[in-house]
Amino acid sequence: MSDTFRTQLAISTGRAARRALKLIDPDRGTNLPGRLALGVDPSALRAMLRRIDGRVAYVSGTNGKTTTASLITACLRGDGTNPISNTAGANLTTGLASALLTAGDAIDAALEADEAALLKIVEARPPEALVLLNLSRDQLDRYGEIDALMTKWREMLDGLGPSTRLILNADDPRVAALGWIKSPDAPPRTAVRFFGLEVEDPAPQRPPSDASWCPFCEEPLEYGRTLSIGGGDYRCTGCGWARPDPDYRLIKAKSAGFDGFELAVETPNGMDTFSLRLPGLHNAANALAACAAASELGVSLSTVAKALAESRTAYGRAEPIELDGRAVRLLLSKNPAALTGSLLMVAESERLASRTSELPPVLFGLNDKTADGRDVSWIWDVDFAGIIGAGHPFVASGTRASSVALRLKYDGWPTDSVEVEKDLYPALRAAVARTPRGSAMSALLTYTAMRELRAELVKRQLAPRIH
């Protein structure tokens, strides 16, 4: 396919900008080059996507996009190709365009896309595998309500041909329902593969209020097993529609706290066990989703298991950093489900550690910039006290540090047990100073808080650069 002059100009402009930015700061260039290229020619994204003639996977959903896409990338690499990826979490059209500018002659791609950007790239170039992870409340001021988004996704899926494998989460009723064309009376779409967790979840359970109605008949759903990360085993009390039997199942997840899991998966290609060095049950679910996508793209199960076992945390996703002889975990926590997941990980690791000294503090950096969602009321939907216990040592930080402190006060924290420090790096130093030497502490951060703190750590040569 030959590009128009305008498209070629767009791509050269973007590439030049990328080279220039890299000279100034190697961590930059995840958005601006794409923005410039799309400014010159809005159709450049489509043109660049259509050049990829190998295997393409898109990943979307509220949480887990970055990790799942990077795990699929690892599987494709294990399979001998060098796929394009946008693994810095730059998942809007500008970030996708920036990633594609570097493509060279790569033939495969594993791309994460924001819930809205997904519609555009699927239309531009349908993928071979489309992974939809989960849907929960996230930045309602940006995306509007989940039900409206689901309607758009359904229309998108109706327009896809049979060459796109749909990899859907059976445990999330709203995502699973997308596997059917209109009503559950007919069989699911032919190209659909479900993945689901069939393990005991020892973490505290709460009613899955985000997904309490049947997506088909709107009667209440009844849950048997529920998962701390949301969803579970459901059946509609009205029409009888129930969680589909997964094609890819997680049948064992033995937790080793922040060190990850021993996992066992059952797939249409057989069974395998491997260790996953990513903590948190949500990451076990992400690994299962990646396993399903890679398998459907033709990667063998043994290659998948090896690639997953060798994978390490993605940028800012439980990324371990060392500071003054203490381990610091950076945990992206940008919405109720993700923050709940992070707190569960902290609680789980503290439960596993036989501890004699004082608990290390938890730092939560809450920013309210555009990319974080400017409405911070979602922190009131997270059960801080129920997960880590009221009074747990805490450092509140970010542009809305005072809102965090207020939330904790009403959840039972004595005011003097919460340290408030708006600036992220000084807050981290304060938290580290209160962490016993040889112990680990966790920093939970919204999107721009993560970028800001990480940039500061890179500047001080305390964290590696992204690329």
């Binding site: 409340r137 309500e145 409206a148 209440p220 400017r374 922190i379 809102s403 207020l406 009403y410 005011t415």
Partner: protein, 269 residues
């Protein structure tokens, strides 16, 4: 109904009973924080308090309660609750409000308390007729930080975050909760925000509104105590609200522009 642990009898006084209507379906945007704020501010003053979650299908008699809270939900959840509420002695709720029942309704809950709601496709849904307001779905959503000047007995300056597609108009006899200093309020045009009738408050403010506007929280508690004790003035013990007021100040200073200049250039890191 599910009882949520009461705070133990710190005094022999009667327990202040708070009903939280449909917390599951009508619980978007952290609005459950409002109920927590009421509960804690009673507990901190040793006022015995009990919060009960009223679920779909429960028998709910408005006159049995001291405070009633109703939040907002996603469109679909809201429709399911609309049917439920309509069958729920709307008349009894209006009577209780007329009798001085302390009530707070936020966003979708506020719209429900009105006379009617005209949806995007033009159909007209009946409201509960408790508050003299009418709401119509408008083009686009009104989203952003909001600051309102209310009477000092309701907390003075109120700060929150609004996110609504409905445009609400106050009808004859109605009184706004406050005047919009920044943001949209009821409809983005007449600078009114919310509606108050006796001790019943409807508002578009999320945040949630009560924790960071403790004056409004205390106004509800005071009204409930006054109604129960039949006394004209109840003095609430003062609390240390420094953290509440800090959070309110920071929220009030939140940038209301949709994107900063750097954000427009993709540099809003």
């Amino acid at each position: 109904m599910v009882g949520v642990r009461d705070s133990g009898a710190a005094s022999s006084a009667e327990v202040l009973r708070i009903a939280h209507l449909f917390p599951g379906a009508m619980g978007l945007y952290g609005d459950q924080g409002n109920v927590l704020a009421l509960r804690r501010r009673c507990e901190w003053r040793s006022i015995p308090v009990e919060v009960v979650e009223v679920q779909s299908g429960d028998d709910f008699a408005p006159a049995d309660w001291d405070v009633v809270f109703l939040g907002g939900g996603a469109d679909r959840d809201q429709e399911a609750v609309a049917a439920e509420l309509a069958g729920m002695r709307a008349g009894a709720l209006a009577e209780a409000v007329d009798d001085g029942l302390a009530m707070l309704a936020v966003c979708g809950g506020y719209q429900f308390l009105g006379q009617s709601y005209r949806t995007a496709d033009g159909s007209l849904l009946d409201g509960l007729g408790v508050l003299p307001v009418r709401t119509e779905n408008g083009p686009g959503r009104l989203v952003g930080p909001i600051e309102v000047e209310a009477a000092s007995e309701y907390g003075g300056i109120l700060v929150g975050f609004e996110n609504h597609g409905g445009r609400t108009t106050i009808l004859e006899g109605g009184e706004p909760l406050g005047v919009v200093l920044r943001g949209y309020g009821n409809n983005g045009e007449d600078r009114t925000e919310g509606c108050r009738l006796k001790n019943c408050f409807g508002t578009y403010l999320h945040g949630p509104v009560l924790p960071q506007n403790p004056g409004l929280a205390d106004a509800l508690i005071r009204a409930a105590l006054e109604r129960r004790e039949g006394s004209a003035t109840v003095e609430l013990a003062p609390l240390d609200d420094r953290l509440e007021l800090d959070a309110r100040t920071v929220a009030a200073n939140q940038d209301s522009r949709k994107k900063s200049l750097l954000g427009r250039l993709g540099l809003d890191f």
